[in-house]
C-alpha cells in the first residue's frame, strides 16, 4: 500500500484523500439532506399548499395561508404571548444568572454545593417538574398561596386565570433556565484575567461597582451576547410547560407559537397552514441568529 502511494503522482494522492474524505462524510451528508434540508424545503413548499393529512391531494394556494395567518386571532395571540413570555424570561433569567454566578465566584465556601443546587433544574425532567410547579401554584392547596395566606394575602389562581397564567409559566421558565445561564457566566468569569482586576484596583476602582463596570461587564460581553441569544431562542421555543399544564388556556391566554403549530399541524392535521406558521417561526430564529452574528458580535469582540 505504502509503496503504491509512493509511486502515485501528487495529483492522484490528493484525489485519493478527497475520495476518502467523501466516504467518511457521506453518511452525515446523506442524513443531513434527508432529515434537515429536505424537510426544511418541504415545510416552505407545504406552506404554500392546502395540504391536510387524511385527505389525498393538495393544491398550491400561493400566499393564502400567510394571508390567513395575519387575520388569525389565535396566531396573533400566540405571537404576542410568546413575545411577552420571552420578554420576561430572558432578561430576568440572565440578570439572576449573572448575579448568582458572581456571588458564587466570590464565595469561598460551598461553591460546588451552590453550583449544583442552581444547576439541578437543568438536569431535571421539565415535564415532571412542571407538574410539581402546578402543585406549588395550586390556588387552594398549593404551598405558594398557603404561604401568602399566612400573611392574610389571597394569592391568585396562578395557572388558572388568564391574567396570571403567563407569569406563572414565566416563573417556571426562569427557574429552569437560570442554572444553564449561570454555568456559562461562571465559565466567562473564570476566563477574565486576574491582572485586569489588579490593574483596576491600582487605577483607582475602589468600589465593587467600579470594578464591575471597568472589567467584569465588558469582559463578559461575548458570554452575555451568547447567553442572550440562547435564552431568547429557548424562550421562543417554549412548549413543554404549556402542553403539560395549560394546553394554551385558559381562554388562549397561554397560547404560544410552538403550541399553536402543534395544535394546527398534529391535532387538526392542517399541515399546509401549520407549515406556514413554521416558516414564520423559522424566520424569527433566522433574524435572531443574524442579529447575533452580524450586528452585535462586532461590539463585544475587541480584537
Amino acid at each position: 500500500m505504502a509503496s503504491i502511494a509512493a509511486e502515485m503522482p501528487i495529483a492522484s494522492i490528493g484525489r485519493r484523500e478527497a475520495r476518502i474524505a467523501w466516504l467518511l462524510a457521506a453518511p452525515a451528508i446523506t442524513l443531513l439532506f434527508l432529515f434537515i434540508l429536505l424537510p426544511t424545503l418541504a415545510v416552505v413548499i407545504l406552506g404554500f399548499t392546502d395540504f391536510e393529512l387524511g385527505y389525498g391531494g393538495f393544491r398550491f394556494v400561493g400566499f393564502e395561508n400567510y394571508a390567513e395567518l395575519i387575520s388569525d386571532r389565535t396566531f396573533r395571540r400566540s405571537l404576542s404571548n410568546t413575545a411577552i413570555y420571552t420578554a420576561i424570561v430572558t432578561p430576568v433569567s440572565i440578570v439572576l444568572a449573572l448575579a448568582i454566578a458572581m456571588l458564587i465566584e466570590a464565595e469561598t465556601r460551598a461553591r460546588a454545593f451552590f453550583r449544583t443546587v442552581y444547576f439541578l433544574p437543568v438536569a431535571s425532567l421539565l415535564v415532571a417538574m412542571a407538574t410539581v410547579w402546578q402543585f406549588l401554584f395550586h390556588p387552594t392547596i398549593g404551598p405558594i398561596n398557603t404561604f401568602f395566606a399566612q400573611f392574610g394575602i389571597t394569592g391568585p389562581n396562578w395557572l388558572g386565570a388568564s391574567g396570571t397564567v403567563l407569569y406563572g409559566l414565566s416563573i417556571i421558565g426562569i427557574w429552569q433556565s437560570v442554572g444553564f445561564n449561570m454555568v456559562l457566566f461562571l465559565a466567562g468569569l473564570t476566563a477574565i484575567p486576574r491582572e485586569l482586576y489588579a490593574a483596576a484596583e491600582v487605577d483607582g476602582a475602589r468600589s465593587w461597582f467600579d470594578r464591575f463596570r471597568l472589567v467584569t461587564w465588558p469582559m463578559l460581553g461575548p458570554t452575555t451576547l451568547f447567553v442572550t441569544t440562547i435564552s431568547i431562542i429557548n424562550s421562543v421555543k417554549v412548549f413543554e410547560t404549556v402542553k403539560t399544564l395549560t394546553e394554551g388556556g385558559p381562554n388562549k391566554a397561554s397560547e404560544v407559537l410552538l403550541f399553536t403549530i402543534y395544535q394546527e399541524g398534529f391535532v387538526y392535521l392542517r399541515v399546509g397552514y401549520a407549515s406556514a406558521m413554521t416558516v414564520v417561526f423559522l424566520a424569527i430564529l433566522v433574524v435572531l441568529m443574524f442579529l447575533q452574528y452580524r450586528v452585535l458580535d462586532r461590539k463585544v469582540h475587541y480584537a
Binding site: 485586569l196 475602589r206 471597568l214 480584537a303
Partner: protein, 388 residues
C-alpha cells in the same frame, strides 16, 4: 531620605512561608530590581506593596506615611503588569485616561449618560484628555490613541501600559516583569527606554524580574530574593563581585559560578591548589567550606606541571568567548572556565591542562551559604612546588 520603606514583611499561604521578614528602603528616584528564581516571593512582595495582597505582619510606608491598611486605590502607586493588563474594550487613549478619571471624577460623574449632564465634568474631562495627549506624545504613541489593545503589537501595548502608569504622577512605580512578553531584540531596546522614563519621573521604582541581565543593567541597586528571604541588596557591581551568600553568587553570572567543596584545618586555614587562605571568623565546629570562583577567573594552560590538574571534557565556542568544561583530576568535580578565543586556540577536548585561579577572586562560603571573609596568607608558585 527613603520614600518607600518596607519593614519586616511576612506572608504565608496555607502554612507555607512565602516571605520571611523582608525589609527594604528605596530613596527618591531610586531604581531597585527585585530579582530571583520563580517562586521566590518577589511578585507577592510587589503585590503587597501595591495593596493587592495583604501581609501577615510588617509595615509599608510611602513618603513616611504608613499605608499598610490602605486599599490599592488609595496608595497612589502605579503598576505595570507582566501581561500589561490593558482593558481590551477601551482604546489606548481611554486606557491611559482610566486612572485619571477614577480619581478626579466622582462616581456619579462617571455614570454613562447621566454623568454627561452633571456640572463640572466637562472641564475635568477636557483636562484629562489634554494630559493623556501629552503623555502619549512624550512616549511617541500619539498615533495609537484610537486603537484598541487587540490591534497593537506587543511593544506598542507595553508603551500604552507605561503611559497609563505614568500619567497619574504616582509616588511609587511598580513593575512586574514588564519586558518578559517582548521578543529578545525589543527587550534590550525597551530596557533603555524604561530607565530613561524612570529618570524623568524621578520616583522610586521596584522592578521585578527573573532575568539577571535586566536587573544588573537597569537598576541602581539589585535585591536578590531566594525562597522568600531577601539575601542581599546592593549596587550591581558590588552584588556581582562581592556576594554575601552562595545563592546570590549562584543566581547572578552566566555561566554559573564554580563551587568546590574543601576542608578547613583547625586553625582556620584553607588550602586549595597553590593557595592558602585564612578565614577571619571561622565557624566553630564545621570543617567543610565552599569555594566559589567565577568562570572568568579560571585560567587553563596546556601541560601537567601545575598543582591543580584537569582534563578538558567539552568546549563551547560562543563567538566572543569560549566556555570550557574541565574535570579536576584530584576531586573529580567539573570546573568551568570562560576564556578569550585567542587563549583557547591551544586547547582541545581530552587535553590535560593545569588550572590556575586568580587568588583575589576566590570566595569562601560556609556550607549554610553565608560568605566567610578570608585573606590570602600564602601563594606557592606552581613551578616551585612541582620541583620541590
Amino acid at each position: 531620605m527613603s520614600v518607600l520603606s518596607l519593614d519586616n514583611i511576612t506572608k504565608s499561604f496555607a502554612g507555607n512561608a512565602i516571605l520571611n521578614g523582608v525589609s527594604l528602603e528605596a530613596g527618591q528616584g531610586e531604581f531597585i530590581a527585585l530579582v530571583g528564581p520563580s517562586g521566590c516571593g518577589k511578585s507577592t512582595l510587589l503585590r503587597i506593596v501595591a495593596g493587592l495582597d495583604h501581609a501577615d505582619s510588617g509595615e509599608i510606608a510611602i513618603g513616611g506615611r504608613n499605608v499598610s491598611s490602605l486599599a490599592a486605590a488609595d496608595r497612589n502607586i502605579a503598576m505595570v503588569f507582566q501581561s500589561y493588563a490593558l482593558y481590551p474594550h477601551l482604546t489606548a487613549g481611554q486606557n491611559i485616561a482610566v486612572p485619571l478619571a477614577m480619581r478626579r471624577l466622582t462616581a456619579a460623574q462617571r455614570l454613562p449618560f447621566i454623568g454627561d449632564f452633571l456640572p463640572g465634568q466637562r472641564q475635568i474631562r477636557a483636562d484629562i484628555q489634554r494630559q493623556v495627549r501629552e503623555m502619549a506624545a512624550s512616549l511617541k504613541i500619539d498615533h495609537l490613541l484610537d486603537r484598541k489593545p487587540g490591534q497593537m503589537s506587543g511593544g506598542q501595548r507595553q508603551r500604552v501600559a507605561l503611559a497609563r502608569a505614568m500619567v497619574r504622577r504616582p509616588s511609587v512605580f511598580l513593575m512586574d516583569e514588564p519586558l518578559s512578553n517582548l521578543d529578545a531584540n525589543l527587550r534590550v531596546h525597551a530596557r533603555g527606554e524604561i530607565v530613561e522614563l524612570h529618570r524623568r519621573a524621578g520616583v522610586p521604582t521596584l522592578y521585578v524580574t527573573h532575568d539577571q541581565s535586566e536587573a544588573l543593567s537597569m537598576a541602581d541597586r539589585v535585591a536578590v530574593m531566594i525562597g522568600g528571604t531577601l539575601l542581599q541588596l546592593a549596587p550591581p557591581q558590588e552584588i556581582y563581585d562581592d556576594p554575601a551568600h552562595i545563592e546570590v553568587a549562584r543566581f547572578l553570572g552566566q555561566p554559573r559560578i564554580n563551587v568546590l567543596e574543601t576542608r578547613m584545618d583547625a586553625t582556620g586555614l584553607v588550602r586549595f591548589g597553590a593557595l592558602t587562605l585564612a578565614v577571619e571568623t571561622a565557624p566553630p565546629s564545621e570543617r567543610r567550606v565552599l569555594i566559589g570562583v567565577r568562570p572568568e577567573f579560571v585560567r587553563l594552560r596546556p601541560g601537567t606541571d601545575g598543582i591543580l590538574r584537569a582534563r578538558i571534557e567539552r568546549t563551547e565556542f560562543l563567538g566572543s568567548e569560549v566556555i570550557i568544561h574541565a574535570r579536576l583530576d584530584a576531586i573529580g568535580e567539573t570546573i568551568v572556565a570562560r576564556i578569550a578565543p585567542a587563549d583557547a586556540a591551544t586547547l582541545s577536548t581530552g587535553m590535560p591542562v593545569s588550572v590556575e585561579i586568580e587568588p583575589s577572586r576566590m570566595m569562601l562560603f560556609a556550607t549554610t551559604g553565608e560568605r566567610l571573609r578570608a585573606k590570602t596568607v600564602a601563594i606557592a608558585s606552581s613551578r616551585e612546588r612541582a620541583h620541590g
